[in-house]
Amino acid sequence: MRTGNIERLLQLCALLMSREHAHTARQIREEIPYYRRCKTATAFRKQLQRDIRTLREIGVPVEVDAETYEYSVRPKRYHHPIVEFTADELNCICLATKAVARAFPGFRAEAEAALRKIQFGAWQEARAAEQHGAHVDLRPVAPSGGLEEEDLRTAAQAVLRRWRLRLDYQALDETKPVERLVSAYGLAAFQGQWYLVGYCHERRAVRTFKCARIRALRLHSSSPDDPEFEMPPDFSLRDHVGLEYWQLPSERGPTDVLVRFSPEISWWARRRFGSFASSLMETDAGLTMTISAANPDALVDMLLSEAHRAEVLGPPGARRRAVQALRQIAGEHQET
């Protein structure tokens, strides 16, 4: 690594903070040895602009006077303010940093840098918070799941900057990838997988793309500066990601499924389906509840995995489906 770049950035930062008055580009060139060595004024200007962009990216608030073209950093705006966090807030921040580092390796450096700044001056409290949460680990997605680290970062950039992406996407029912142009609305990790949600220009609708099925991903424009689309005001990422299969709309439409769980697992059923259920009734025979399912067939199939511990009571079509499936399984697996 060339330490000259680091020294130059530190010098520029210190120079812009060190005096009460702002500096013109010419003064900056005179004060910093590296810039003096630039062969042309154009080379110096380009280098200065790159350096200012870099400093801004790490949080240094470099200001430019629109009339005089003088540069400055006001110490009051530079220094991270003293923000007091309670023990549980610090615990939450420590866990959040772990979660980001695990789920989003491309953003690990940013998360850890943020943690260092936030903990500044509150080391003892931070240590106590970290110790409190030492046994807890957050890994919202599998490290190997989905896109390459760099692609995921590009997708996140596109969401944050409202850029369009070109995807080579292989849908579940297609044999080879198809190119899609997508306005990147949102990105979410759910049950070990990343999902990109966006407006698909080919399908002319909002679509959810499982990142594990994206074979290649790139920005539509090589270096977009401005946002490339407007967000629909009523867009909510949670409407598109975070639903189980039985909660996804189906041809049969939403149906209330009446289910009885055996006493052995009624506590679990209450925990698992309680927020989607109505008319809960607990008796010696178990817990009966009505579960509202957008895809009742998928719910019935899922309940079959509970075998004798869950019984679909109605509607008749759902019960029939359960019985037929069980008969089929019993018949097909009969020992010969």
């Binding site: 240094v60 705006r77 807030e89 599998a142």
Partner: protein, 334 residues
Amino acid sequence: MKEPPAQVVEKLLTVVPYLLSRSGLEEGPVRVPIQELVRDLNVSESELEFLASVLNLCELPPYGPTDTFDCTIESGWVSLWIARAPFKRPVRLSARQAEVLALGVRAVGVASPELAEAASRVLRKLEAVPAEGISPDASRILLLTEQAEEDEARLRQVLNQAMTDRQAVRLTYFSHFAGGIEEVLVAPVALLLAYGEWYLRAFVAGRDRVLTFRVDRIKDAVVSGPAGAMREVEKPLEHEESLTFSDTFPVEVELPATAARILEEGKPPFLSRVHYLPGRKRARLHMVTNSVAWLCRLVLGYGGAAQVVRPPQIRGEVARAAQAALAVYSRAQS
């Protein structure tokens, strides 16, 4: 060290004020135990050595004899001296850093109801910190986790406290592997949120090994006394390792190709190989498991679309599980 210069500068802009804050500029060189720096700033010793070497090469304007850094690392101590430096506190959070942290904080708030209130307070404070604020677009990147129920949050608190106090816990657990409710005495090792679910890693008495339990299937957890007699397991094992079975047997299951592809995308540790049949409408999964009960659940959950191909004795177990369920359906509905 392959970090880009911006990241190194960002670290220096925190390390320098950290060291200076440990005394005062006028009070001469600061000496801080290296382990404290490593712990507080989450940087390794080798990183610190590199940062010190960079600092020693840097001069700051106006380049007088006292405008150079003198940073040394010796016998476990770091010392720094510079006559004046404008960096009194770290540089404020960049918008990106605040956004990334907010992303994690939102995930914690959803995953842990007990921390939801703290998470929203943190978010409010973060939004007020950077000059530009957090872009509203930042909320469109989410780490979604299952919305945990209140009683599950209470369980996690009990388990976390037991780990801190080194207590053993008696679990009532709905085990898919055992095929029903079981009671086990465990020494909790770690709580892990992975693949959208909370897991407990715990050393299990009588089995002499660390096993993984899904927290949503723990019916109850009761502290039962010091865990001292049980084997100490200081370091949480990797989640990937935790899902690796032992005493396994091979199984072959046939199911629709789309279902196989979905399973394949999740890269579950039990899946050895997928073989798509001619026409690619069906596929055969070659997998390993150590639990018949778990395999029966898997097959039943496909609603008749999946079949165990071999071994034959497992086919019989699946048939028996389906018949037991049918017996429930054949009773008169009450």
